[in-house]
């Protein structure tokens, strides 16, 4: 079957006009990104799957409310991330585990923690990109949901702070603070990834031998 060349907005409009396949095609087009957002926000495949289904059924039913003042993908992401957060708040399926310094303002961004000598002496040999990605995802799952969602949207998915703020329905400054605090906690959790020789945390880029 030839790929559907209609734009996202055209597919959504076709769906509203009664095309029974248009919405599924729209979702198919963005499924991996939407799944990443749901999965990383919720932290559990089953819950992510349920949250994504709830979100997209909701989007399907209220597609006519889309006013076109943002991109269709922004609208879809907003619905998905809010469904994921709602689900987490309601069911608390994966309660996050506070870090020791949680809430006291200390240790956030503490360079001595990042320089922890548990760091791998040669992360290139010890960890593949896949393992590193999994470890980061696990650390991400330990963050409070709101911080996690902000980091997923801004840092991982690359949305601007303003766009993320619209999706999360909060001020941009709140998104910034959530990102900042979340990154600081991640830095603590992932301190062992720091390469003591370079005094710099190992990156996926490093691990791939400088590819990308």
């Amino acid at each position: 079957m030839a790929p559907d060349e209609r734009s996202d907005a055209e597919l959504l409009a076709a769906h509203v006009d009664g095309d029974p396949l248009a919405f599924t095609e729209l979702v198919r087009r963005h499924k991996d990104r939407l799944w990443s957002v749901a999965m990383r926000t919720v932290g559990d495949p089953e819950e992510a799957s349920d949250a994504l289904q709830d979100a997209l059924i909701s989007a399907y039913r209220r597609a006519e409310t889309f006013r076109g003042d943002s991109a269709v993908t922004t609208w879809l992401h907003r619905i998905v991330v809010n469904a994921a957060l709602d689900r987490m708040r309601r069911r608390a399926v994966r309660p996050w585990v506070p870090l020791p310094n949680e809430g006291d303002g200390e240790g956030v961004g503490d360079r001595s923690l990042l320089a922890d000598r548990r760091a791998l002496t040669d992360p290139h040999d010890a960890m593949t990109a896949r393992e590193l990605s999994m470890e980061i995802d696990q650390a991400l799952a330990m963050l409070p949901p709101d911080q996690r969602a902000a980091i997923v949207l801004v840092d991982i998915e690359g949305w601007s702070v303003d766009e993320a703020a619209r999706m999360l329905e909060c001020p941009p400054g709140t998104v910034k603070s959530r990102c900042f605090r979340g990154r600081a906690k991640l830095a603590q959790t992932l301190a062992h990834l720091r390469n003591p020789d370079s005094n710099r945390i190992v990156t996926l880029h490093d691990d791939l031998g400088g590819e990308q």
């Binding site: 095309d19 396949l21 919405f23 979702v27 360079r111 980061i136 995802d137 690359g158 400054g173 900042f180």
Partner: protein, 255 residues
């Protein structure tokens, strides 16, 4: 410090470094099972407006017969006694947009065939769009509600089978169709078919056969269901073994 408090954040080297690390994380590919479940749920949403098919509660753990890689789709809906005469596919209601051009229907022969309708819609079926596509097919043959499916149990004069330029098989030849459906019914303990669609499945030749499965007019009864079977048109013994079968719930909303 309150997370919801708006304030200017002074970026630290660690924060910037962590942001860079996160930025390089790859997307997580959606597992095939999740996509199938999601697409089925979306298709079920569309169903009440176009036809009578919605995903059954078991859709999340869909049942497939072994050898699901068959190059054809057969949809079977069974319930009450179904007619054994073939009906025309020409006087059909408007269905959803097909993915390829519909094939014109030409009379070939008249005979007793254990199927209510035999059509050639030209649809290219696939697992994901199947509920929607089946809904469209039933709409097309005028069976857009359980009541009309039940009504199809009443015998009507036989009507032509669709003609095709391809080699004779169950979608083009009355005898082959008869033998295949009888064998299918025997293999799976199914009643005669409601609809047979000569079509394609993921681009390969296929027959889509619909059997009405469970119908109970009482409100407390089990959900009405249809079985969907995908079969390669030659309908050999091996084809029947390899046939793909799905079960869907027929929405009461359309009654």
């Amino acid at each position: 410090m309150n997370d919801n408090e708006e304030y200017d954040v002074e970026e630290t080297p660690e924060s910037v470094e962590m942001a860079e690390l996160l930025r390089n994380l790859p997307d997580v590919a959606m597992p095939e099972a999740v996509w199938n479940r999601l697409a089925t749920a979306l298709s079920a949403e569309a169903a009440p407006t176009v036809a009578a098919i919605t995903a059954a509660p078991s859709a999340r753990r869909r049942r497939w017969l072994p050898g699901a890689a068959v190059a054809g789709v057969a949809i079977v809906a069974t319930a009450v006694i179904l007619p054994t005469m073939i009906n025309t596919g020409a006087n059909v209601a408007d269905g959803p947009k097909e993915t390829s051009a519909a094939v014109s229907l030409e009379p070939v022969t008249l005979d007793l065939v254990p199927a209510r309708h035999v059509v050639a819609t030209g649809t290219d079926y696939d697992e994901v769009g199947l509920p929607n596509q089946v809904g469209g097919l039933l709409n097309r043959v005028g069976m857009d509600s359980p009541a009309k499916m039940i009504a199809a149990a009443n015998p009507e004069p036989p009507t032509p089978i669709a003609k095709s330029g391809s080699a004779p098989d169950m979608t083009t030849d009355i005898t082959a169709l008869h033998d295949c459906l009888v064998a299918l019914a025997g293999d799976h303990n199914l009643p005669p078919a409601l609809v047979v669609d000569r079509a394609t499945f993921k681009g390969g030749p296929a027959a889509v056969v619909v059997f009405l499965h469970t119908f109970d007019k009482s409100e407390q009864g089990p959900p009405d269901t249809v079985d969907v079977v995908v079969i390669n048109p030659p309908c050999t013994e091996q084809d029947r073994k390899d046939a793909m079968r799905m079960t869907f719930e027929v929405s009461r909303v359309t009654q």
